[in-house]
Amino acid sequence: MATPKVDPEVWRTPDTDVLWQDIDLELRLEAVKTRIHPRDIRAMLPVIRVLALRDFKAKFKQSLLGPVWIFLQPLALLAAFIVGFHAVATINTSGVPYIVFVLVALGAWTYFQASLSMGAVSVVTNAQLMQRTACPRLAFPIASLIANLPSLGVPLVAGVTAAAVTGELSLRVLLLPLGLLWLIAVTAGVVMMTSALNVRYRDLLAILPLVLQVGVFFSPIGYQTSDLPSVARALIGLNPLAGVMETWRWMILPIHPPAAGLIATSLAVTVAFVLAGWFIFTRSEPTMADVV
């Protein structure tokens, strides 16, 4: 037999680390219900990173103020709460200055809003990439979760700093990473769900602004749920952000813990969102390029 033909990539020294993987590679492509598993996310990380960077950069290109908007948006919202809630009504803040009280929960909302606005359309806006390359589709919504982390960090750091400066910071702040994880889980579930549904049903584009406009009032940013009438208090837990915000506030400030019922409801809804988001996304992923 003649000398075996060697793929040039095998001896292409600079990237042999990569190309050896090609040896024995054998993919069988056929009709399947779903083709992603949670463990595949690891392999998507380089693509997620580059997409998140792209989304973050592109968001502020050809803009006068650029990333300054990450500071201005929560600031405007904060001003709205001070005028809209505090100036007209007495809000029980458990003795915490109102500005600190709002700032502590604000980041949860600005992050959710920014990630959802970008994430819900993420698959559709990447249609071209999706129809021309095998770019992992799950990387699109996940990249939105990463690209909008500054919208979480800026108000949260401001809130924690304000709490420390005013002497209201609780030692429970050490638990905050768990609170962040909760917020990201809620957002991930909703973003996976909406980005996949939006491929098939563009009605999402009509619903989304509505949900975001109304949702800000159904979230305990400028008030606490303990001051709500009992029926409303029972229902507000269905908004998982209510559980997130009250938990954050308890972790950062020296106040009473939120009602167990609220936390349990919000946690249950969070789990349901994550599972539903994963199920809907992974089931519709194989045909996204055909339907979009």
Partner: protein, 261 residues
């Protein structure tokens, strides 16, 4: 070549077994698309009223079987809508077949359209990293080849200009340069040499030829019969989603021309 002795240390026998099998094997590939508007108020009301919705379907691929050997340049010809692009999308893992299967033994680099995946607001350099990563290449390898890519595309200092200021020819050059600089076992070219000038096109053809002579595999789709005859070892003629004829280039192209004369 020292490379061969390197391979010996890993054991040649299992590699040869894998290497000697066809790099692509398609078995009864079928892809059915649904036609018309998928969702509309009218359709929703019809369904709510208890009515039945009829979908028209299209068999974009209809029981297609063929195989490609490692190191071959395989051409695909056919009129618009004959299923060429759908087939390439299935091989590139962009979409799944409705029935049948295809086995792919190697990394696929699909160049299905020029400027794909480029973001208008990012610079050429940022886009090269984006496109290379999406194609599955590590960041280090992409950055290490940036100079080569810029040189191949001949876009010089424009590499740091936002892509929206590029002409379509410059975008094509850049995406072709990225594709040419990365070694994949299978490179797919779908009608991508249509917008570049003669000088660049001929350099691209040389690159494609060197890919093939280097032992890699290429799938080449073009309406330019001259190019297909020049580059391809074997050709598949597709018609209405079916493989009408697969064989040596001259034979298939003669039959194709006789049918379209």
């Amino acid at each position: 070549m020292t490379a061969l002795s390197d391979i010996d240390t890993v054991g040649v026998a299992p590699l040869l077994a894998w290497r000697d099998r066809p790099i692509i094997e398609a078995n009864h590939l079928t892809k059915v698309y649904r036609l018309g508007e998928h969702q509309s108020l009218r359709a929703t009301l019809t369904v709510l009223a208890g009515g039945h919705r009829e979908y028209q379907t299209l068999r974009a691929l209809d029981d297609v079987s063929f195989s490609i050997a490692r190191g071959e340049c395989f051409g695909i010809v056919g009129t618009n809508g004959s299923g060429k692009s759908t087939l390439l999308q299935v091989i590139s893992q962009i979409t799944l077949p409705t029935a049948g299967h295809v086995v792919v033994r190697g990394r696929v680099l699909p160049l299905l359209a020029v400027g794909t995946g480029f973001h208008p607001e990012l610079t050429g350099r940022e886009n090269v990293v984006l496109f290379g990563t999406v194609l599955g290449f590590p960041r280090r390898a992409i950055l290490g080849r940036m100079d080569e890519i810029v040189a191949f595309a001949e876009i010089g200092s424009h590499i740091d200009t936002p892509l929206k200021r590029y002409s379509s020819g410059m975008q094509a050059r850049l995406s072709f340069a990225v594709a040419m600089m990365f070694p994949a076992a299978i490179s797919i070219f779908d009608e991508v040499l249509a917008v570049t000038d003669d000088e660049f096109t001929s350099r691209c053809l040389q690159s494609i030829e060197s890919i093939i002579s280097g032992g890699r595999t290429a799938i080449f789709v073009s309406h330019d019969a001259g190019l297909v005859r020049r580059l391809c070892d074997r050709v598949m003629w597709m018609e209405s989603g079916q493989a009408r004829l697969v064989g040596p280039t001259a034979e298939v192209m003669d039959a194709y021309h006789a049918a379209h004369a």
